[in-house]
C-alpha cells in the first residue's frame, strides 16, 4: 500500500459523518481520489505538487461531511426545544418556581459582576488603554504608590521603555464662580498628561507641555464634562472664563470629553491643573523640587513590543542609579508595575478583598438557586418516570433522552437568566445611588455593557448544564419494568438509598448555607445596633460641625488665627449656642493625625519604634462643645497663646501609657521631634475613638490652636434648640467674614456615617442576600415537599383509609421535612461558628459568636422551614381517601 495521506485524512474526517451514510460516503470519496491518483500517475508523475493537489481535494471532504451534519442536528434540536417548552408549560407551578429561583440567583451574580466589570475589567476610557501601566514606589517593607517630582523627572528622562510617562496628584479644592462656592476635587498633572492619554477636548483645548514650564506662571485649568454640564450649564462660553480656585484666578481653557474620568477609575475629580501651579494651589507647601516629598502618582504608556516585566527590570536599574545618587531620599526604593486606575496599588487589595467577599456571597446564593433547580428536576423526573421508561423501551438512546432533559433545564436556566436581568438592573441602580459621605471623592459609575450580558448568558448556560445533567442522567437510570408497570410509590427503585440521599443532602446543604449567610447578616445588624451605644468619647446628639480650609483660600499664619478667633467670638454670641469650639479635625473622620511622643529623659535609639499618640489642635471650649468629659485639670483658655508656656491636654489612655501610676498633671514631654519644645500637661479628658470605631485605648494628645495655628478648621457647635437653623446661622457668620469660603456642614450624628460605612455595607449585603437565600431555601423545601406529597397521595390515602387522623398525616409529612432541616441547621451553626470569626474586624461591640444572634437566626430559620413544610402537609391532610385510593 503506497503512502496515501489523503486516505488517512478521509478516514479522520469520516468520523463526523453520520453512521448510516458513512460507508457510502467513504467509498465515493476514496474511489474518486484513487481514480484521480491513477490518472495523475499515468499522465504525469506523482510529484509533490500533484500529491498536494490530492490532499487539497480531500479537504473538500470536510466541507461535504459538515454539510451532511447540520440538518440532523437542527431537526433534532428543534424537536427537543418544542417538546421541552410543552413539558414546562404543562407544569406552570414547577416552571415558575424554578425560573424565579434562578432569576434571583443569576440576577444577583449579574449585578455583582457589573461592579467587577467597572472596577477591574473595563479599561480606562482613553486611547489604547492596554498600554498604560501604573508605577508603584515599593520601598522597604511598605508599598506606597507615590513618587517625588524630581524622581519622576529623572525616570522620565532616563527610561527607554515608555513612550510617555505622566505624573499627577489628586487633591481637594475650593471652587468659586458665578457666586457659587463649591468644594471639589481636582488633578495636578504633568504637561504631557493629556497627550499621553490620547484624548482630545470637547470644548477649547486641553493642557499641553507648554502649560507646565515655569512654576506659578500658568494659571490655566481644564474642567470635566460633567462639571461643565452641572455647574456651568454646558455654556459654550466657558472657554476663557475666569474661575477662582483656592483663592486665586484661573482661566478655563477647555473641557474634557464626555465619559473621560482621568486616570483613576473611582475618582470623582473634575478639574485639571498644570503641576507648575502646585505651590499656588497648595498654600504653604512647595514640593516640586523636594526629592523626598512623595506625592505623585505616576503612570506610563509602554512602547509597543515592550512587556511589563521588561519595563520593570529596566526601571529598577534606573531606581538603583537614583539610589546611588541620592542616598538620603531614595534608599531602598524599587519600582513595581501594576494595572492602572486603582490609585497605583493602594486600592487594589481592598478592592479585591471587598469584591471577593461579594462574589463569595452571590456565588452561595446562586448555588442555592441551583440546588433548588436540581431538586425540582429530580422530583419532576420521578414524576415522569413512566414517560421516560416508555421512550427507552421504544428504543430511544439514553443520550437522546438525556439531551432532551438537558434542553429543558437549559430553557429554565436561560429563562431565569433573562428574567434575572430585571433584579440585576435594579440592584445596579441601587448601588449607583449608594450615598457615600461627603468629602469622599469616590464615584461608582457602574456600567452594564456587553461583557455583563455575555457573563449572564454563559453563567445561565453553565448553570443549566451543570445542574441539569445529574438529574437528567439519574432519570434515565434504573429498572424500566417497574416504571412501565407503574407500581407507584412502592417501587423500590424510587426508594433507592442513593436517590433519597442525594435529595436529602441537597436540602440540608440549602438550609446550612442560608443559615451561614443570615448569621453573618445578623451579627452585622447587632454590631450596628451596638455602635449606637459605643463609648465614643464625645456626645454626637445635638451638635454639628462646619468645616472649611483657610489654606485653600490663601490665608497666612497670622491671618488664620485672627479669622478663627473672630469667628469663635461671633459664634459664641449667637442665640441658642450652648458651647462652641474649633479643632483642626474631628475624631473618626477621613483623616487623622499621629505624632511621636518623646518623654523627658528618654533617649530614642536608632531604628527603634518611637511611641506615638493621636494628635489634634483645638481651641478653648472644644471639649465642651464635643461633650467630652474633663476628668482632671482644666481646658485650654485664651491665655494659652504663643507667648505662654506650651501646654497640652491628654486622655486617660495617654496617662496610663506614659505616666502609669503617677499624676500626669504638670508632666512634660516633647512631640514630633526629640528636641522640640516641651509641653506641659494641664488636663485629662475621657477616652474615646479617634481613627475608627473598632479601636480601644489609644493615647490622645491635643495642643492649643492659638499656640500652633493651622488652616483646616472645624467649628463644633452644640445647642439644646433647633440644630439646622443654628447651622445656617454659623454658616452666615463664616460667609460674612469671607464670602468666598466654601463651607461643608454636617451634624455629628451624620459624621458617624463614614466610619460606619463598611459595616453598613456588609450588613446590607449579608443581610439582604441572607434573606434572599432564606427565601430560596424556603421555596426549595416547599417545592420538594409538595412534590413528595403529590407522589405519596396513594400511600396517604391508604393510611387515612386505615384509620390515620389528620394529625397523624401532618406529623408524618412534617417530621420528614423537619428532620432534614434540623440537620441542616446543625451543620449551618457549626459552619457559622467557624466562619464568623473572619468578620471580627467589622464587629464592634459584638463577639463573633454572639449567642443572642445565633439563637435568634436559628430560630427564624426553623420557623420559616416549618412553614414551608406545613403548607404541603396541610394539603396532604385534605386528601379524600377515596380519591387517593383510585389515584395512580
Amino acid at each position: 500500500m503506497r503512502k496515501r495521506p489523503w486516505l488517512w485524512l478521509l478516514r479522520f474526517v469520516g468520523l463526523i459523518v453520520p453512521r448510516r451514510l458513512r460507508a457510502d460516503w467513504r467509498q465515493e470519496w476514496e474511489a474518486e481520489l484513487q481514480w484521480r491518483e491513477g490518472q495523475l500517475a499515468e499522465w504525469e508523475n506523482l510529484n509533490g505538487r500533484n500529491r498536494l493537489a490530492l490532499l487539497w481535494h480531500s479537504a473538500g471532504a470536510l466541507a461535504d461531511a459538515l454539510w451532511l451534519q447540520p440538518r440532523r442536528w437542527e431537526d433534532e434540536m428543534m424537536q427537543d426545544l418544542r417538546y421541552g417548552v410543552r413539558m414546562l408549560a404543562k407544569r406552570p407551578g414547577f416552571t415558575l418556581v424554578a425560573v424565579l429561583s434562578l432569576a434571583l440567583g443569576l440576577g444577583a451574580n449579574t449585578a455583582i459582576f457589573s461592579l467587577i466589570n467597572t472596577m477591574l475589567l473595563r479599561p480606562l476610557p482613553i486611547h489604547q488603554p492596554e498600554q498604560l501601566v501604573a508605577l508603584n514606589n515599593a520601598g522597604g517593607n511598605q508599598m506606597f504608590s507615590n513618587f517625588s517630582y524630581p524622581n519622576y523627572k529623572d525616570l522620565r528622562s532616563r527610561n527607554d521603555v515608555f513612550s510617555d510617562l505622566i505624573a499627577y496628584r489628586i487633591m481637594p479644592l475650593s471652587l468659586s464662580h458665578d457666586g457659587i462656592n463649591e468644594r471639589r476635587w481636582g488633578y495636578e498633572v504633568s504637561g504631557n498628561y493629556f497627550s499621553a492619554l490620547g484624548v482630545s477636548a470637547a470644548q477649547g483645548r486641553l493642557l499641553v507641555a507648554e502649560d507646565d514650564l515655569t512654576p506659578g506662571a500658568h494659571p490655566v485649568v481644564v474642567i470635566g464634562y460633567k462639571l461643565w454640564q452641572q455647574s456651568f450649564g454646558s455654556a459654550p462660553n466657558v472657554v476663557g472664563k475666569e474661575i477662582i480656585v483656592n483663592g486665586r484666578p484661573y482661566t478655563v481653557v477647555g473641557v474634557t470629553p464626555q465619559g473621560f474620568l482621568g486616570t483613576e477609575i473611582a475618582s470623582a475629580s473634575e478639574l485639571w491643573f498644570p503641576l507648575a501651579m502646585q505651590s499656588q494651589l497648595e498654600m504653604g507647601s512647595n514640593w516640586l523640587d523636594k526629592r523626598g516629598s512623595e506625592t505623585l502618582f505616576v503612570q506610563g504608556r509602554l512602547k509597543p513590543g515592550v512587556s511589563s516585566t521588561q519595563a520593570q527590570t529596566s526601571l529598577n536599574l534606573i531606581a538603583e542609579q537614583l539610589e546611588r545618587e541620592y542616598p538620603d531620599d531614595n534608599k531602598g526604593k524599587r519600582i513595581a508595575l501594576s494595572a492602572p486606575g486603582l490609585f497605583g496599588n493602594t486600592m487594589r487589595s481592598n478592592m479585591l478583598g471587598f469584591v471577593g467577599l461579594l462574589m463569595a456571597v452571590v456565588g452561595l446564593v446562586l448555588l442555592l438557586a441551583c440546588i433548588n433547580l436540581a431538586n425540582l428536576l429530580l422530583a419532576r423526573a420521578a414524576e415522569r418516570r413512566r414517560e421516560i421508561a416508555v421512550r427507552l423501551a421504544l428504543g430511544a438512546s439514553r443520550f437522546r433522552l438525556v439531551r432532551q432533559l438537558l434542553t429543558e433545564s437549559l430553557l429554565l436556566a436561560v429563562g431565569g437568566g433573562l428574567l434575572g436581568l430585571l433584579p440585576a438592573l435594579w440592584l445596579v441602580n441601587l448601588l449607583k445611588t449608594f450615598k457615600l459621605p461627603p468629602n469622599v471623592p469616590v464615584v461608582f459609575a457602574i456600567q452594564v455593557d456587553y461583557r455583563v450580558y455575555l457573563f449572564t448568558f454563559l453563567l445561565s448556560l453553565a448553570t443549566g448544564v451543570l445542574f441539569g445533567l445529574l438529574p437528567a442522567w439519574q432519570a434515565t437510570q434504573g429498572d424500566l419494568v417497574p416504571a412501565l408497570k407503574d407500581e407507584g410509590a412502592f417501587s423500590s427503585h424510587l426508594r433507592s438509598p442513593r436517590r433519597t440521599w442525594l435529595k436529602s443532602s441537597l436540602i440540608v446543604a440549602q438550609v446550612a448555607l442560608s443559615l451561614v449567610l443570615l448569621m453573618g447578616g445578623g451579627l452585622m445588624v447587632r454590631a450596628l445596633q451596638q455602635a449606637n451605644t459605643l463609648k465614643l468619647g464625645f456626645e454626637p446628639q445635638h451638635a454639628a460641625e462646619l468645616s472649611f480650609d483657610l489654606r485653600l483660600q490663601g490665608y497666612e499664619s497670622a491671618q488664620r488665627k485672627e479669622f478663627q478667633k473672630r469667628l469663635l467670638e461671633r459664634v459664641r454670641a449667637l442665640p441658642g449656642v450652648q458651647a462652641a469650639g474649633l479643632a483642626d479635625l474631628l475624631p473618626v473622620d477621613l483623616h487623622f493625625s499621629r505624632t511621636s511622643v518623646y518623654l523627658e529623659g528618654a533617649v530614642p535609639e536608632r531604628n527603634a519604634r518611637v511611641p506615638g499618640a493621636m494628635f489634634g489642635l483645638v481651641s478653648p471650649g472644644y471639649f465642651q462643645a464635643m461633650g467630652t468629659r474633663l476628668l482632671q485639670g482644666r481646658e485650654f483658655t485664651a491665655q494659652d497663646d504663643e507667648q505662654a508656656v506650651p501646654v497640652a491636654l491628654i486622655n486617660e489612655s495617654f496617662a496610663r501609657r506614659f505616666f502609669p501610676g503617677e499624676n500626669p498633671l504638670g508632666k512634660q514631654f516633647s512631640l514630633g521631634r526629640a528636641d522640640a519644645a516641651k509641653v506641659q500637661v494641664v488636663g485629662i479628658v475621657e477616652d474615646g475613638k479617634y481613627a475608627n470605631l473598632n479601636e480601644d485605648g489609644r493615647p490622645y494628645v491635643v495642643r492649643p490652636m492659638w499656640q500652633s495655628p493651622v488652616g483646616a478648621t472645624s467649628v463644633v457647635v452644640r445647642t439644646a434648640g433647633d440644630l439646622p437653623s443654628l447651622i445656617a446661622s454659623v454658616r452666615r457668620e463664616i460667609q460674612q467674614l469671607d464670602p468666598y469660603m466654601p463651607v461643608a456642614t454636617s451634624t455629628l450624628v451624620e459624621k458617624l456615617d463614614l466610619p460606619l460605612l463598611p459595616a453598613r455595607m456588609v450588613a446590607s449585603i449579608l443581610g439582604g442576600f441572607g434573606l434572599l437565600a432564606l427565601l430560596l431555601a424556603a421555596i426549595g423545601i416547599y417545592g420538594v415537599m409538595s412534590y413528595g406529597v403529590a407522589q405519596r397521595t396513594h400511600e396517604i390515602g391508604i393510611r387515612m383509609a386505615l384509620g390515620a387522623q389528620k394529625a397523624d398525616v401532618l406529623r408524618l409529612v412534617i417530621r420528614q421535612g423537619m428532620t432534614l432541616t434540623l440537620v441542616g441547621v446543625g451543620i449551618g451553626l457549626a459552619a457559622a461558628l467557624a466562619l464568623t470569626r473572619l468578620m471580627k474586624s467589622l464587629l464592634f461591640g459584638v463577639s463573633a459568636t454572639d449567642p443572642l444572634t445565633f439563637v435568634g437566626i436559628a430560630g427564624l430559620l426553623t420557623l420559616v422551614t416549618l412553614l414551608a413544610c406545613y403548607l404541603p402537609a396541610r394539603r396532604a391532610t385534605q386528601v379524600d381517601p377515596l380519591v387517593a385510593l383510585r389515584h395512580e
Binding site: 457510502d24 467509498q27 465515493e28 476514496e30 474511489a31 474518486e32 484513487q34 481514480w35 484521480r36 491513477g38 481535494h57 479537504a59 473538500g60 471532504a61 470536510l62 466541507a63 461535504d64 454539510w67 451532511l68
Partner: protein, 108 residues
Amino acid sequence: MGHKYLSYTMALILQALDNGYRYGFEVMTITGLASGTVYPALRRLEDAALIKSKWEKQSVAQAEQRPARKYYEVTKTGHRVLGEARQRFRLLEQMTPQVALKPAREES
C-alpha cells in the same frame, strides 16, 4: 414538490452532468468549482430528486483495482428544471451541445 429555484452554481453543475460529466471529479474539473462546492451541491440535487446516483459496474472497478465510483444521472424532473434554468441563464443555453455527447466510458 414545488417549483425548485436553481442557483447559478447548481444549474452549472446540473448542466455539466447533463453534458455527460457524470462523476464528481469530472464535474469539478470541467466547471472549475472546488470539491467543497460540488459535493454538497450534488447532495442537494439528489435530495431534491433532480439527479440520481448509481455505482459503476464492479467489474470495471475491479479491473483497475480501485473502489467502484459513484456517478450521477439527471432525472426527468431534473431535465425539466434544467430547461427552466437555461431560460434564466442564457449563457447555459449556448453551452448545450447540439449533438449528444458520447460519454467518456461505457456505463451499463
